[in-house]
């Protein structure tokens, strides 16, 4: 049953990310013209609840998704099993979540 939950979590997070990735790619292509600068990015994001929600959701979904994805790779390619595998998977997930949320906080919040 572990696998079923993981499978669903990964597919659901993928579905959540799908539109987010599209928007993100679009914005990047638009924004990147003439180089990226902090001003530009921060002007757009700072204080915006919308962007905060957007990137927050993105980060959560990506953390779940990537952690499960890496779990599969670790198990299949490095033959990790059992506690080590789940432990590592949780660790990766939380690390990504923490780093991601911190980054979101940085670009949305702050001065």
């Amino acid at each position: 049953m572990v696998e079923l939950r993981l499978y669903l979590a990964q597919r659901i997070s993928a579905v959540i990310m799908a539109p987010l990735v599209l928007v993100h790619l679009g914005v990047m292509i638009y924004a990147i013209q003439g180089g990226v600068s902090a001003d530009e990015i921060l002007a757009r994001t700072r204080g915006s609840l919308l962007w905060g929600g957007f990137y927050g959701l993105f980060v959560i979904a990506a953390a779940v998704h990537a952690a499960i994805g890496l779990r599969n790779i670790l198990s299949e390619w490095l033959h990790l099993r059992g506690l080590l595998l789940s432990g590592l998977c949780w660790l990766i997930g939380f690390a990504l979540l923490a780093a991601g949320l911190r980054a979101v906080a940085a670009v949305v919040g702050g001065s």
Binding site: M1, E3, L4, Y7, L8, N72, S75, E76, H79
Partner: protein, 246 residues
């Protein structure tokens, strides 16, 4: 179109403890399958070579081997189709333990078939008439599309997930389970769905599709497994919903 009158054949010799290749020169014939090549070697060059076959017409699935790295039914693979620069390399089927030379132990393949609840359980008995089921019913069509499996384990050898995850049931067993899930006469759909949704079941498949590419009967285990995944996910969501809303 005789290219040369002999072909160069490398055959894996050995057993569970290891082995190596032996080389043979085999006279080429206009009508010659890979199984004929192996047979020639066993009859004329090295009578101690071990291999397995039975029906010789693609019905029993006993003769599968790796031919130039690809799993194939050797009794129905013409040499011309696979010859590369006049060379053939023949090895035992991948992903199964070798018994000797080209014969491997298929027990785990069939154990997994059983683990996937790959057998029918009906509600009717022999005293009753055969169920009236139209061949056009969608479920029957799905069951039928997956039915003509000869348990040759070619798909099992083609799948890397089988290689990476010893628990994985593999394409053939799952394909059979899918066929049964679509059989309206079967009464163990629930138990079977549990069995194939458990760890090592259909959700371990990464859609590599080697199974479907190499299945000699042109079956499509990938499609069957996708069907099971959807069934498994659907059943899980439904149960969650029911648990929450009574």
């Amino acid at each position: 179109m005789q290219v040369s009158d002999h072909i160069q054949v490398k055959v894996w010799r050995g057993d569970a403890s290891g082995g190596s290749f032996a080389e043979f020169e085999v006279p080429q014939q206009p009508a010659q399958t890979v199984l004929d090549v192996v047979t020639w070697i066993q009859r004329h060059a090295d009578s101690s070579l071990s291999y397995r076959f039975a029906c010789r017409v693609g019905m029993c699935g006993s003769c599968a081997m790796m031919v130039n790295g690809i799993p194939r039914w050797t009794c129905r693979t013409h040499v011309n189709k696979v010859l590369q620069d006049n060379h053939l390399t023949i090895e035992p089927l991948r992903n199964l333990p070798v018994i000797k030379d080209l014969a491997c132990d298929m027990s785990e393949f069939f154990d997994k078939w059983k683990r996937a609840e790959g057998q029918f359980s009906g509600t009717q008995t022999r005293a009753q008439a055969v169920a009236a089921i139209s061949p056009g019913e969608p479920a029957r069509r799905a069951a039928n599309a997956a039915i003509e499996c000869i348990n040759c384990a070619i798909c099992y050898a083609a799948c890397d997930v089988v290689n990476w995850n010893p628990d994985y049931l593999g394409p053939a067993a799952l394909n059979r389970a899918w066929s049964l899930q679509n059989d309206s006469r079967d009464r163990r759909h629930g138990e079977r769905l549990q069995a194939v949704s458990a760890d090592g079941g259909c959700l371990s498949c990464h859609s590599q599709q080697g199974c479907a590419s190499y299945c000699p009967n042109e079956l499509n285990p990938t499609a069957s497994i996708a069907g099971l995944k959807k069934m498994a996910a659907g059943a899980f969501m439904k149960k969650k919903y029911r648990d929450r809303h009574g």
